[in-house]
Symmetry: C2
DNA sequence: GGCAAATACTAATCTGCGTCATAACGTTTT
DNA sequence: AAAACGTTATGACGCAGATTAGTATTTGCC
């Protein structure tokens, strides 16, 4: 159901049938959100967390002049702000990139899981640490790669993340974001993002069109962005992206 | 004892006496490590985590040419690789910057805490999310600030983190790292790090000498680095000399 | 279908930082 | 005391990417 994509294909932390049922039962509401809507602002007290079912969301920080730095892009299956459960208030804003469908999970329900299901709690903990691992890859991207490398790395990462949840066929996926979003992700201007995307196109590595990304040379794009997917903790077994004990 | 500085001064998650005793009891060994020693390599299976008692450590990623990007600097009181407990293997290397004293905590002991002490577990979870919040601030630093701003931000952050554990007097602290380390933290060359430090000195904001950082204008340095300490989740304790610098 | 507003794209100029080269320190080793 | 090394320091030069200033092309809305 709603939690089908959560932790799907992640090394050693697939949810068992009972765990999945409990998590499913923790959902209080499912709703849709418009594109480009802010759903959480930094500093506000939170009593719910959000599981992304469909669409794309982001988390970002503003600088003094109001320019944004995206610190995360969330894809379906991500527990977008689960870290609000231990933190109680966030250090950043959360918004949709595209129209999205989300499941709301009250922290009260998570209290129950925390108190009675240590194994599931550790898997929830794991999922927040996966986000932290992605943060680190983004730090590498911003600190060590040039503009072309940053975009190549981001597109390679997104492809790798969409694969286990069935939203990439291995080289093509829908991603309704703009060139300006790419700029805010990669720490460059939108003008330069445009130049970089043209270069990737001319080099035959990747074609980016607002709503569709077509990677022509998966290996080459990864090389250009020094992308190594180990930090995503995705199961090495390609035949079995699914688990669920055949329930 | 060894855990005295862990989560010290953090909003709403101070350890109770019993929790502290349990955590203290989870330590299997305390040992010292030389400066510039790697203690964990990416990918290796781990069965212990490391609480930093004294000295400075770092976590980093290598690029293809062997250049490092630091993704975290750890100060005394930090549970350096607690995230290895749910993750089981890390996506990055961990090393000392200076000589250090650490406490080793076996994951088996953490299993016991996880199974029987949900409150303490949530505080441990919190501490790993604090690291993630710092990652996000670093993403902002690399994505949105120029070289001077990056160094100003880093030094402001380090000052703010050392304050609650008693290792900064509010504007001066010992930090045995080199200009090259600053470069690897801020994603710039060591040559440029040198230029930036000179500029901060000439502008009367901060004097960096290998083993001592002296912030002459705490407010001004924070402004230059767009530093806002909210993401550190530090208790707003009025008795602490937080930002009482005039400028 | 037609208009307005985003978004995509391009070119010209400017600049922050990288690169390369060299030298002066200080610390440890022998 | 000199050699060997790591760290700090500084200057000359070039380039990747920012900035500015547009024009084209979508997309969405009435």
């Amino acid at each position: 159901m709603f939690t089908d994509r959560f932790l799907k294909g992640r090394r050693g932390v697939q949810l068992g049938a009972e765990e999945r049922a409990v998590l499913e039962g923790a959902i209080s509401e499912v709703r849709t959100i418009d594109a480009r809507a802010t759903i959480v602002s930094a500093g506000e007290p939170l009593s719910n967390s959000t599981l992304l079912i469909d669409g794309f969301m982001c988390r970002y920080l503003d600088d003094r002049e109001g320019m944004r730095q995206l610190v995360a892009v969330q894809v379906p299956g991500d527990f977008v702000d689960l870290h609000a459960y231990p933190l109680k208030t966030l250090d950043h804003d959360v918004a949709t990139l595209t129209a999205a469908t989300v499941a709301i999970v009250p922290h009260r329900a998570l209290d129950g899981i925390n108190a009675t299901m240590p194994e599931l709690t550790r898997k929830l903990w794991f999922s927040t640490l996966l986000d932290a691992a992605i943060h680190r890859a983004w730090l590498f991207r911003l600190g060590r790669l040039d503009a072309v490398g940053r975009v190549a790395h981001f597109l390679s990462e997104t492809n790798a993340r969409l694969l286990p949840v069935g939203l990439s066929d291995g080289s093509r996926f829908a991603l309704g974001i703009t060139q300006n979003d790419i700029a805010e992700i990669c720490g460059i201007t939108n003008v330069h993002a445009n130049r970089v995307l043209r270069q990737l196109r001319e080099e035959g590595l990747c074609v980016f069109r607002s709503s569709l990304v077509d990677i022509l040379d998966v290996r080459g794009l990864a090389r250009r962005g020094q992308f190594n997917p180990d930090y995503l903790y995705i199961d090495a077994d390609p035949t079995k992206p699914n688990e669920s004990q055949a329930s």
